[in-house]
């Protein structure tokens, strides 16, 4: 379980820390205060490797593309990871989970002297081109490169006090244009903690069916069904149906003649299936949910929290979720055990000000309730 995380110069967060994380954490605050960014920071920190860095923008339905033509100082496709798009100041994520403390940092190397030697793999192919993907991969002819910048990840912990650098990507200017190339996809080490990020635009994906299949094989499907029945009491079972091509579909049996693809069920049902599959499949880890109330009727929120709390307790899974819903926070206040949850309120004192985070415990939430005080 994560107990703390500090975020420095990551996206819109210049310097934010949460020093007390509970088994269940609810992030609240105005639009643009960095709640989703904090989830992404936790996700990146959970497993320091290049693949997650490359995928994190995709959770916002955004993909990297090389700037063209040439490479301007602020033209790197990964610049949005850096506070104020300033790639000259490193991103630092430092946190502690399961008694282990480690730091993850990102920096851009723009000069040859500081460049880290890399091996180009797969083999170089003349006539550089960009290959599509969430994180664009590319092959190029290194002989044509006129300028190159690197995105470098560094990892330190008690066992690795000296930073161990790893080049995640390079952006090269060549005679044929700008080429973005991904390196070092593998984790620098085994993930310190397993994390699942459920973003708002990509709540339900084919991956849920694959993960449910694994849960079904282990005969743990009842835990998922219990949560899903909060919004669909007719649910008898979920079934993974393979397809000739592509990933399998998940179907729901709600007592009709034919099973229904989960994608065609209501948004709340898809959300709850996703949460439950993530919680069971991420046992011992952390589930990060953006806008947890999405699609869920207010009357089901108490049961949602009760169900998730019990499930996470049994699977030793931690939840960090954002919400804009008063009903969602108030339902948590009413039903969650006081020692099991915290609310973290993100705010800016003024438009140009830094983001601050205030942690509210159950007693403070009760107090706000008594005062008739809106804390979101």
């Amino acid at each position: 379980m994560y107990t703390r995380l500090s975020v420095q110069r990551f996206r819109g967060l210049r310097n934010v820390a949460i020093d007390h994380l509970a088994p269940i954490n609810i992030l609240i605050g105005n639009n643009g205060t960095g709640k989703t960014t904090f989830l992404e920071a936790l996700w990146l920190h959970s497993s320091p490797n290049g693949e997650l860095v490359a995928r994190v923008d995709a959770f916002r339905a955004f993909t990297w593309e090389p700037s063209a033509p040439g490479i301007s100082p602020t033209g790197s496709p990964w610049r949005y990871l850096f506070y104020g798009n300033s790639v000259h100041e490193r991103v630092v994520l430092s946190g502690q989970a399961n008694g282990h403390r480690w730091t993850f940092s990102l920096r851009q190397v723009s000069d040859k002297k500081s460049a880290i030697p890399i091996k180009v793999n797969p083999p170089t192919i003349p006539g550089g081109q960009v290959v599509s993907g969430n994180f664009l991969t590319a092959v190029l002819n290194p002989l044509n490169v006129t300028r190159s910048v690197q995105l470098v990840l560094e990892f330190t912990d008690e066992d690795t006090p000296a930073p161990k650098p790893s080049v995640i990507a390079t952006l090269d200017s060549t005679s044929q244009g700008v080429v973005l190339m991904q390196h070092d996809q593998q984790a620098m080490r085994a993930p310190a903690i397993v994390a699942t990020l459920l973003s708002s635009p990509l709540r339900y994906s084919a991956d849920v069916a694959v993960r449910y299949g694994a849960i079904d094989r282990e005969n743990r499907q009842d835990r998922v069904l219990q949560i899903a029945r909060i919004v669909e009491p007719r649910l008898k079972r979920l079934s993974v149906v393979p397809r000739a091509h592509g990933e399998p579909y998940l179907y729901a049996d709600v007592g009709q003649r034919e099973l229904i693809p989960v994608q065609l069920m209501g948004g709340g049902f898809q959300s709850l299936v996703s949460y439950a599959v993530a919680a069971v499949g991420t046992a011992g880890g952390v589930v990060l949910v953006d806008q947890i109330e999405n699609g869920v009727h207010y009357s089901a929120l108490e049961r949602l929290w009760q169900g998730l709390s019990a499930l996470c307790h049994d699977t030793d899974t931690q939840i960090v979720a954002t919400t804009h819903s008063f009903e969602c926070v108030d339902a948590a206040r009413r039903v969650l055990p006081a020692d099991r949850f915290l609310v973290h309120r993100f705010s800016r004192q003024d438009l140009a000000g830094d983001v601050m985070v205030q942690t509210l415990d159950a007693e403070m939430l009760e107090s706000a309730h008594a005062m008739g005080l809106e804390v979101r």
Binding site: A370, E374, V375
Partner: protein
């Protein structure tokens, strides 16, 4: 099953009010709103009830991060049996929230690094009791008071003796007995009600010297004293 009618939804702190007064309960909130009206500071002070004196500390811890625009955060509470203890308790609540502490009741503290001051008033300021004690004392000379005393004496000879009650509770019994007779509203046509209604019906003479510490305090909180 009794269904409660509409309940006010929670509201954020109003950023136009730079001064916040925390009171113990709903009744106190409505009473002090009338005090602020009289003192001419109702448009400068937001009043919130915390749900009992034991909740001042968590309320302050909550507000310290949310009310970053506030210049003054003040507490007013009953002395009950120990005015000094009540003031120390208020100061401890400020301290737990990381706020500066006033050196004496009714006075503003020194500002903290963000320029915020605190203040706490214990009523009555000079003895044990409650806001009802102050109100009762302000009625000295009212022709109905001896009737209330005789009424309670009669009750107490047949029930729990008067010595069992604290000063604060005794004054509440007196005042509520008076309210039960309806003397606080015009033509005595609506007996019952309590502190809030009596204040809202204009029963109290805010210029009475007994109310001076309270009126002065809200003006101090509003930075007009």
């Amino acid at each position: 099953m009794y269904r409660r009618g509409p309940v006010d939804p929670p509201t954020p702190l109003d950023p136009h009010f730079l001064h916040l007064l925390l009171v113990e309960g709903q009744e106190d909130g409505r009473f002090y709103e009338q005090v602020c009206q009289h003192a001419g500071v109702a448009d400068r002070i937001e009043i919130r009830q915390v749900g009992g004196w034991a909740r001042f500390a968590p309320a302050l811890r909550t507000l310290v991060g949310i009310g970053t625009h506030l210049q003054t955060i003040a507490i007013v509470r009953d002395a009950e049996q120990n005015g000094r203890g009540a003031f120390q308790s208020a100061c401890a609540a400020f301290q737990q929230a990381g706020l500066p502490q006033p050196s004496q009741p009714g006075r503003l503290s020194a500002p903290d690094a963000q320029g915020r001051c605190t203040a706490a008033l214990i009523v009555p300021i000079d003895s044990s009791g409650s806001i009802e004690s102050v109100c009762w004392a302000s009625l000295s000379g009212h022709p109905s008071l001896p009737c209330v005393e005789r009424f309670l004496e009669c009750i107490d000879t047949r029930d729990v003796p008067a010595s069992s009650y604290t000063a604060a509770v005794m004054d509440k019994r007196r005042l509520w007995s008076l309210f039960a007779a309806g003397v606080h509203n015009p033509r005595h046509m609506n007996p019952g009600g309590r502190l809030a209604e009596s204040a809202e019906q204009g029963f109290w003479d805010w210029t009475h010297t007994r109310f001076d510490p309270i009126v002065t305090f809200v003006r101090t909180v509003a930075r007009l004293a």
